[in-house]
Symmetry: C3
Amino acid sequence: MISFITIIDYIGTFAFAISGIRLASAKQFDWFGAYVVGLATAIGGGTLRDILLGVTPFWMLQPAYLVVTACALGFVIVFGKYVIHLNNTFFIFDAIGLGLFAVVGIEKSLSCGFSFWVAIIMGMTTGAAGGVIRDVFINEVPLIFRKEIYALACVFGGFVYYACLYLSLPPALTQFIAATGVILARVLSVKYHISLPVLKGQ
Amino acid sequence: MISFITIIDYIGTFAFAISGIRLASAKQFDWFGAYVVGLATAIGGGTLRDILLGVTPFWMLQPAYLVVTACALGFVIVFGKYVIHLNNTFFIFDAIGLGLFAVVGIEKSLSCGFSFWVAIIMGMTTGAAGGVIRDVFINEVPLIFRKEIYALACVFGGFVYYACLYLSLPPALTQFIAATGVILARVLSVKYHISLPVLKGQ
Amino acid sequence: MISFITIIDYIGTFAFAISGIRLASAKQFDWFGAYVVGLATAIGGGTLRDILLGVTPFWMLQPAYLVVTACALGFVIVFGKYVIHLNNTFFIFDAIGLGLFAVVGIEKSLSCGFSFWVAIIMGMTTGAAGGVIRDVFINEVPLIFRKEIYALACVFGGFVYYACLYLSLPPALTQFIAATGVILARVLSVKYHISLPVLKGQ
């Protein structure tokens, strides 16, 4: 039986892959290029995290992430014209994926014996580094360095996670609250146009 | 005595390095920059593979690859004007290198105990990731995401390798057939202008 | 008590982070983006070195580098307009950091059991790779591939280090002489406009 967490994991992977594939299509990439960019967006953050933690990248142990990305590519090929109407849906899926990925990154780092501040950085890396790799591949300045709260939502979720640990809440509840914190921080910052100040150029 | 495989390995490294150095020269890089881009093109794919597999990058165990890249730089400096007349020669050398690198990547992954689908991805990574790093360094959209069959030739060779394993062919024959599969897929796709569909932009 | 080496390490980190943050500000990055670019500039080289050596990235074992980078960001936010008048100061700090980072990279590689030629490459990586990552993030062609002696100063320091080892000088003296060699090579090459030839484009 596939667990609830696994389903959310695949939904997040699908949404991340879609975001990479759509940007690749805007750059006239071929199917292979779009697949690689979609894959890098979906699994790039977790891969960088695992390399930094010194463990085998998660996707090399089971092929599901490659299959989900292939489904995302097929989806964009078949429904290309209509995808734009699903922007809000994908935004929500992406935010849910971000919340889950951040929590997974935090827990994997802690289980490897690192400090909590490393875990927060790894939660952020899991959620946000894939988008940076995507933007490097399509030769654009990474979006998250200039716009909106994205990686910082993962940092916020990290502090929420820490508070839950401090209060000795049960693991499943801690995961749920922290992921919800990430999702809310992301959704509310976009809805109310909350963003960081821009550093003035010289 | 240097084996036949070693000679092919150095020829492939030379051809890969030349491709990086030539693109660097078009961007007015200095000798150092051209050397680094040539080196990244030649050893970048194998380095990424080894990091993902969790082993020491191959070039850190013997300096030959740095020397071959230095020869490639010297070659472009001395024969710069004539290199363009050797385009067809370098294309063949590059294809031979691609075939060898793909087979090396597959075998190293299998010897580390990974599944065959991981080995196919690592064969592709060994052959094609260096060119992606090269294009990131010269600040261009990676060529293999937009044009021609390149990484997919490695994937094709991976399936050929698997078929040979299934038929219990001897290792040396398997290597030869799989590498030939990669080279043929690459050469024929360029000769007959076979390429993947481009993903339509929105 | 904080040692002299540690103080130089933090000064170098600060100077490297400032260089990343200033370039990020010229690209209108927000505070988060500027922080990430500053951090990548400061710790990117050492992180790549540690991944290649197969050890845990140094900054994951103590949070000082994140704090120093945060101070650099605060400095640019508060004194933004005046930073430009400190160009010469930062140039010297950056050169000192380069010298220290190169020596740290050499020693860490040797202590991991690698050959001296690997150690020289790792000294160069520690000193110069952060700037390459910075330039990839801001979507520019890496500066060190086109201008001035920078990474090569680390290579020069590596040969100086080797000469000191050969002469059996005591470790502290070896470190000092090698780092001074890097700093002098860097400062003199800028002062006298010494640079490598540019590779002619075709």
